[in-house]
């Protein structure tokens, strides 16, 4: 995981591939079908996220909202890692 934390420009990874406790910034949602719903829940570009549980389904927190997502959806959420530690 360490290589991803190095600043190498805007490299995005799917949310589903982060470690628990990781912080990330949302960049893009590639899945057309779920984009609008995710945005209405606060998952907009630039939002700061925290990964609370990984796997299928996983939990991500944006501000004080916790959202459960199927892996399929988490795979389509592109983020850049912004640090954070395990808890």
């Amino acid at each position: 995981m360490t290589d991803r934390r190095e600043r190498r420009g805007p490299r995005t990874v799917p949310l589903a591939e982060l470690a628990p406790g990781a912080m990330a910034i949302l960049r893009e949602i590639s899945d057309q079908e779920s984009r609008a719903v995710l945005q209405s829940l606060g998952l907009t570009s630039g939002a700061r996220l925290r990964v609370c549980r990984i796997g299928d389904p996983c939990i991500v927190q944006v501000r004080s909202t916790r959202i459960g997502l199927s892996k399929h959806v988490a795979q389509s959420v592109q983020v850049t890692v912004s640090g954070g530690e395990s808890w």
């Binding site: 719903v37 945005q39 829940l41 606060g42 996220l49 501000r63 004080s64 459960g68």
Partner: protein, 672 residues
């Protein structure tokens, strides 16, 4: 804080307006809108003195609800509308559509006032919706709800600044405790509007969100954003959403629920049963022999007793489910079950409708509206009635106790097994349908996990009381009526004594016979006669006519009558059997309902409830569709009679086939 003492308002003569003089100050209607799970229905209930369903799960309300609220400031009651929660006013979802139809003058009621209920603990996201409403509504007030929880978490919100930024009044509230109501009414009666900088109408989600975050962070202190976690929620989720532990906890919770239902409720049940047995005895001793006495002791007391004994269980079931819903656990259960459910073609969202169906399939099917995708919704609606509703509960208790007379542990297991069988049949059916008529996969889950809350005991008590009362009302009206009809059908027409009986009586009356032998003969004659009477009665004729259909399942004519009448309402089965048992000569009135039914005999004198027949009847009741209201709701919710017909045909067919297999299998295995 904008707290306003109620007494001052109520005494203000000027505010007491007659209906005709309702100036522009008094809104025509009050519409409650907002994000899901923010407390709109809680507020509605307080305003209107109603008991609409609330729960700590986003998407509880699925249709507009109207009520009337009497305010101390107004002479006439005012209409209040409770909308389903929506995350975004402009999103193409059913909730969004309903909200758009009710807001912005779209309903043709320009004098509406709108209360945007927002969750103070979740301000930023809630403000997006609030800004959308404020942009289209002249008269809007923001109710900053759950202020009690925000304070607990150390959040302080600058209400004056928030009001300035939104351009409308902001009222801090704790709807569940009734805090802030006076201030809310005042704000609604004295509309104020100041210019504000809202995001533009065509703002992208990013722009709207950025605006909301800016406002939220300006007015809130003590918030630590994404790093600030609700410790309790975090800790509980660590276990409850764990892929393995979470499933174990889920199984534990469900087992606990059914154990309580089966084991704990027996105490009050025994009490009720004893009381009714006593009542039956009283009628027998006080009334002269005849039709009236029979009607009372066999028809009414017997039948109603067979229903009311289950009151404690109904109340407990609703009490526990309401408590559970209020904690926020349901969203976690839906979360951990998502993987399992999606394997069978159901979405994680289906969990709540399916759990609700354990109380009753009607609200279960209606709550399926919270499922976003039509295919998923149809699949859920079609399988929901397989869940064991509270009307089946009495039947399960009766039949499992008959099956395992002296082994309460085995009876308890069989009872739990019924619930499992129902759930299993639902999954199996969803899988079959997903491969045939409802091709496709369940939509992947996107589900907000609300923070845990301490459940409201009051809510749970109220739910138990309401459901108990409605159950008693049914027992007192419909079931009494059915009992009377059933009794009449099973007691008439009277048949003349058969030659066999006449011969027995003649022998008993013969001179020189000792008394004991004479009594035996008379009893034998009575038993034969009552059997002949029952068999020849209208109910008997009906039962005999249909019995061949159910014969392969081991049902005799009496059991067949029980099954037929339970199409009116499943719980009628117990009272019907009780009435039929009461007509038998060897029935003792002071026996409990269950032992009376256990003693029922067929025309040839052998027991009705053999192990194999009782087991077949049990699975039949688990699987069969015997509920007209459910079919009506299915038809309404799916928009056509097709799916209702499919549900009826499929479920009845499955029940028959499985009942047949169980009966014949048990017989082949040597179980009588």
């Amino acid at each position: 804080m904008v707290a306003q003492p109620a007494a001052v308002l109520a005494n203000d003569e000027e505010l007491l307006l007659p209906a005709e003089a309702r100036g522009p100050r008094v809104p025509g209607r009050v519409v409650l809108a907002g994000n899901p799970n923010t407390g709109k229905t809680t507020l509605f209930n307080i305003l209107c003195g109603a008991r609409a369903k609330t729960s700590n799960f986003p998407g509880t309300t699925t249709a507009v609800r109207t009520g009337r609220s009497q305010w101390p400031e107004l002479a006439e009651p005012i209409d209040v509308l409770d909308l389903p929660g929506a995350y975004d006013l402009h999103l193409d979802t059913p909730e969004g559509e309903i909200a758009r139809a009710a807001l912005g003058g779209a309903s043709g009621q320009p004098d509406d006032a709108v209360v945007v209920v927002v969750d103070a603990c979740n301000l930023a996201r809630n403000l997006v919706f609030a800004s959308q409403v404020v942009a289209v509504e002249q008269r809007a007030v923001v109710a900053l709800n759950m202020i009690d929880l925000a304070e607990q978490r150390g959040l302080t919100i600058d209400v004056v600044e928030l009001s300035r930024r939104l351009g409308v009044a902001v009222v801090p509230m704790a709807a569940r405790k009734g805090i802030g109501l006076d201030a809310l009414r005042l704000a609604l009666l004295t509309p104020t509007r100041t210019p504000a900088q809202l995001p533009p109408a065509n703002a992208t989600p990013e722009v709207a969100m950025a605006w909301a975050e800016g406002v939220a962070s300006d007015v809130t202190s003590g918030d630590r954003g994404v790093d600030g976690v609700d410790r309790l929620t975090e800790r509980l989720d660590h276990v409850l959403t764990h892929p393995v532990l979470g499933l174990l906890v889920f199984l534990g919770v469900m087992t606990g629920l059914f154990w309580v239902l089966f084991a704990l409720a027996t105490v009050p049940m025994d009490l009720i049963e004893a009381t009714f047995a006593h009542l039956g005895q009283l009628t027998e001793t006080w009334l002269p022999e005849g039709a009236v006495r029979d009607l009372l002791s066999q028809g009414i007391v017997g039948g109603v007793a067979g229903t009311i004994v289950f009151l404690p269980q109904i109340c407990l079931l609703f009490f526990l489910i309401t408590l559970l819903e209020d904690t926020g656990y349901l969203a976690r259960a839906a979360f951990v079950l998502d993987r399992l459910l999606s394997r069978f073609g159901l979405p994680g969202h289906a969990f709540v409708p399916l759990l609700t169906s354990h109380a009753c399939a009607l609200p279960g099917i209606m709550s399926a509206r919270l499922i976003p995708d039509r295919r998923d919704r149809l699949a859920t609606i079609l399988v929901a009635p397989f869940m064991s509703c509270s009307a089946r509960l009495p039947v399960y208790v009766l039949l499992t106790t008959l099956l395992f007379a002296d082994r309460p542990a085995a009876a308890g297991l069989a009872f739990a097994g019924c619930y499992l069988l129902g759930a299993g049949a639902a999954l199996f059916t969803a899988w079959i349908f997903g491969r045939t008529i409802l091709k496709g996969h369940a939509r992947p889950m996107i589900l907000e996990l609300p923070s845990y809350k301490v459940p409201s005991l009051r809510n749970a008590f109220m739910a138990a009381k309401d459901q108990g009362l409605s159950f008693l009302t049914t027992a007192g009206t419909v079931i009494v009526a059915i009992c009377i009809v059933m009794w009449w059908l099973s007691a008439y027409p009277k048949v003349a004594e058969t030659p066999q009986v006449q011969e027995l009586r003649a022998r008993a009356a013969a001179p020189g016979l000792d008394e004991a032998a004479a009594t035996t003969l008379t009893q034998e004659a009575d038993a034969l006669q009552s059997r002949a009477e029952q068999s020849g009665s209208f109910a008997g004729q009906m039962g005999h006519a249909v019995a061949p259909v159910f014969e392969p399942l081991g049902f005799d004519w009496q059991l067949t009558v029980g099954v037929l009448t339970s199409f009116l309402a499943r719980e009628v089965f117990v009272s019907t059997m009780s009435v039929l048992a009461g007509g038998q000569a060897d029935a003792e009135v002071d026996e409990g309902v269950v032992s009376r039914i256990r003693g029922m005999t067929k025309d040839d004198g052998s027991p009705v409830f053999t192990q194999a027949a009782a087991a077949a009847a049990l699975v039949f009741f688990v699987l069969a569709m015997q509920c007209l209201p459910t079919l009506t709701v299915t038809r309404k919710e799916t928009g056509g009679i097709r799916y209702a017909a499919l549900q009826l045909g499929y479920m009845s067919g499955l029940a028959y086939v499985v009942g047949f297999v169980v009966y014949q299998g048990l017989r082949a295995a040597g179980v009588s």
